[in-house]
């Protein structure tokens, strides 16, 4: 009986701790009412300091360099309301959890810099959970003017439907080409799968690599198949040859004995290997390949390497991949990420995409000179040469996929080293 009571007490304490933790998360996102401006972002300038001058328009440099201890006069205009529907599950939590922290932090910086033309920026974060439509509706009721959403269609499509296709939705961390849909105001913030894989193929060919081994989950399979499809098409079109094409189960398989046996019969060690596999899968594969004596192969992958911590994986040394942002040491961006606590997160290179999502929505508001979501979305569609923290972004003339340059990097001594920039 005592044990039962003890367990009951422990369970209650665990639930209480969980509730407290949730509360803490909510507090990190702006404030009790979800506004970034109330959570220290628009701190009153200290009496000893003279208020910093307010920025005008969308001055990203001024915002990122704002000093929270010496803010401009508090913005008093009508709020710009940013809705974030975030997926905190294992599927997308590695990016959406820190993403939901960095955006409210940058909103604080924007407010500290005097807001956007004197208008404060408010951010409200809702977890998509099992019902992204409900989270979206709650944010619409709150007054959100545009959305930042998770990287997968299972959340983005209900968001589109709930907003009647009138709200601009930025799928911040997504590279899924079918997710972008300018007609329904859904936008990627980075290159898509085709962009990164074609860039990888071009790079491989430019290095004189003309024989390739492909790992795919099947033709047309989102991400795990689409990336190899695009690489294969570009590689063969450029004169390369696919010497072996193998299948695997994405994010599951780590024993590739059968595949390695087949590869060993056709490969000579001069090939480039390409897949969209997770880092831990391809490090296992490489070990098995090298165990068979195939030592000279060049291993290339997608942003999945970055998403699965390839630089921290001891087996990932030498891998070549396509991260979303190169965060330069000592840069302003690095400082912002560090101060927001997201530089040490699981996927810091994705954070600029979240920051840019907010800035792109704000740019839409400034361009249309309006506050209605449909008008903002229309303005976003024709954004051109927007210089964000993750690079130059253009939506004009696209279906919502910005034709961004792709950085090709190699893991060297546990860090990404830039090899080339394609596009």
């Amino acid at each position: 009986m005592k044990f039962r009571q003890l367990m009951g007490l422990l369970l209650a304490l665990a639930m209480f701790a969980g509730a407290c933790s949730s509360g803490s998360d909510a507090a990190e996102t702006p404030s009790d009412d979800g506004t970034a401006s109330d959570d220290g972002g628009a701190e009153e300038p200290s009496s000893d300091d003279e208020a910093a001058p307010a920025a005008t328009g969308l001055d990203i440099d001024a915002i990122l360099s704002a000093d929270l201890d010496n803010c401009a006069a508090e913005p008093t205009g009508e709020s710009i309301k940013v809705g974030m529907v975030m997926d905190f599950s294992e599927a997308a939590g590695f990016v959406d959890v820190p993403g939901s922290e960095v955006v409210p932090y940058v909103a604080q910086l924007a407010n500290c810099a005097g807001g956007i033309n004197g208008r404060p920026v408010e951010v409200d974060v809702r977890e998509s959970g099992d019902d992204p439509a409900l989270a979206t509706q709650e944010l619409i009721d709150w007054g959100a003017q545009f959305f930042i959403g998770p990287p997968f269609a299972d959340a983005t499509l209900p968001m589109q439907q709930t907003g009647g296709g009138e709200y601009a939705i930025f799928a911040a961390a997504s590279t899924e080409p079918t997710l972008a849909d300018a007609a329904n105001n859904t936008f990627l913030v980075t290159f898509d799968d085709n962009g990164q894989s074609i860039a990888s193929a071009d790079f491989a060919l430019s290095q004189g690599l003309t024989r390739a081994i492909i790992f795919t989950e099947g033709e047309g399979v989102p991400y795990s198949g689409v990336n190899p499809d695009a690489f294969k098409a570009a590689f063969t079109a450029g004169g390369g040859e696919i010497v072996s094409e193998q299948t695997y189960t994405w994010f599951v398989d780590t024993d590739f004995s059968s595949q390695v046996n087949e590869i060993a019969s056709v490969a000579d060690g001069t090939e480039v290997f390409f897949s969209a596999g997770a880092g831990f899968q391809i490090t296992a594969l490489r070990a098995q390949m090298e165990g068979q004596g195939l030592d000279g192969i060049t291993y290339m992958g997608t942003d999945a390497f970055d998403a699965t911590g390839i630089t921290a994986d001891p087996g990932g040394e030498g891998f070549i991949h396509t991260p979303h942002t190169l965060i330069e040491s000592g840069s302003q961006l690095e400082s912002v990420l560090a101060d927001s606590g997201t530089l040490a997160s699981d996927a810091p290179a994705f954070m600029p995409l979240y920051i840019d999502s907010m800035f792109l929505g704000i740019q839409g508001i400034l361009d249309c000179g309006c506050n209605d979501p449909a008008g903002i979305a229309e303005a976003v569609k024709v954004i051109s040469d927007f210089e964000g923290t993750s690079g130059s972004i253009t939506y004009a003339g696209t279906n919502g996929i910005p034709p961004k340059a792709v950085s090709i990097v190699q893991v060297t001594d546990g860090a990404n080293v830039l090899l080339d920039t394609i596009g």
Partner: protein
């Protein structure tokens, strides 16, 4: 011929891990009629301990016992905290409880550790191969097979030659009758969970070595393979569990090798088709055990 031999060794290596997992599932099922869907947590939790250990300067020599011991302790804790509360309840309640344990552990790691992959180094020898004629045999497979043989021999001795084994087998055959004959239910159930944890720990050592990373749901795949192998072998049959594990491992590797290019990614689907066919002709699995209906 050499390709077949190569695949047989690969399949036996993979199947040996499945066999150990299935045996752990079968031991508990035999005693409690519990199909333990929380069995994978006996790999998830040691997996996170492995990640922690490597970040604190441990090496595989010290991590291996950590994995085994933590799996045993985790198994005993899960029994004490969750399953002892519902002992004697319906099979369905037990099943739901095991799901609950799985989701609580996963959510705990998701909330309080991270949603993302946590990598650690694999042992340097794990992909080394031995050239035997035209075969390239992975040392890892040989070690897995050898350890599995030793563990299975030890388990057989434990079950056949000790009082604990006798009590366990008696309880598996008829729990109520065993109790009437003086078998202490608490002891035998905890012993079963400890044995299940030990077997999962040994399997976990190899599983964790090969994975090289851990996530909150790292236990799902080994749990599914273990449960599936136990079902193939015949739930409650210890020999069947071993047979089921080996059959599953061989089926995966051989099908992957034999299926034509273009449909190789349907290997898992074909494995399930084979399992479905097996259950049509032998609903109780390869070595079905007569079930005593509890009233």
């Amino acid at each position: 011929m050499s390709e077949l031999l190569q695949n047989l060794i690969d399949g036996l290596g993979r199947g040996s891990i499945y066999a150990l997992l299935a045996l752990g599932v079968a031991v508990v099922f035999g005693i409690m009629h519990l199909l333990n869907f929380a069995h994978g947590e006996l790999i998830t939790i040691p997996g996170y301990l492995t990640y922690w250990a490597f970040n604190n300067g441990w090496n595989w020599w010290t991590v291996v016992p950590l994995i085994v011991v933590s799996a045993v302790i985790t198994s005993l804790i899960i029994e004490r905290v969750a399953f002892s509360r519902v002992r004697g309840a319906s099979d369905f309640t037990l099943l739901l409880t095991s799901f609950g344990v799985h989701f609580i552990v996963s959510a705990g790691f998701l909330l309080y550790v991270s949603a993302s992959v946590k990598p650690y180094p694999r042992p340097t020898w794990f992909a080394k191969t031995l050239a035997v004629g035209s075969l390239n045999i992975e040392v890892f497979d040989l070690v897995v097979i050898a350890v599995t043989v030793v563990v299975l021999a030890g388990t057989t001795w434990l079950l056949q030659r000790t009082m604990f084994g006798l009590a366990l087998r008696a309880a598996a055959a008829d729990f109520d009758a065993a109790r009437l004959m003086g078998v202490k239910s608490d002891s035998v159930i905890r012993g079963a969970f400890a044995l299940s944890g030990f077997l999962a720990g040994i399997a976990g050592v190899f599983w964790i070595m090969r994975e090289g990373q851990v996530t909150p749901t790292a236990g799902i795949n080994p749990m599914l393979q273990g449960v599936l192998a136990a079902l193939i072998g015949g739930l409650g049959s210890l020999r069947g569990a071993v047979l089921g594990g080996l059959a599953l491992g061989l089926a995966e590797v051989l099908l992957r090798s034999w299926l034509p290019v273009g449909i190789q990614n349907l290997t898992t689907g074909f494995v399930f088709v084979m399992i479905a066919l097996l259950f049509i002709f032998r609903p109780g699995g390869l070595l079905s055990v007569p079930q005593v209906e509890r009233v």
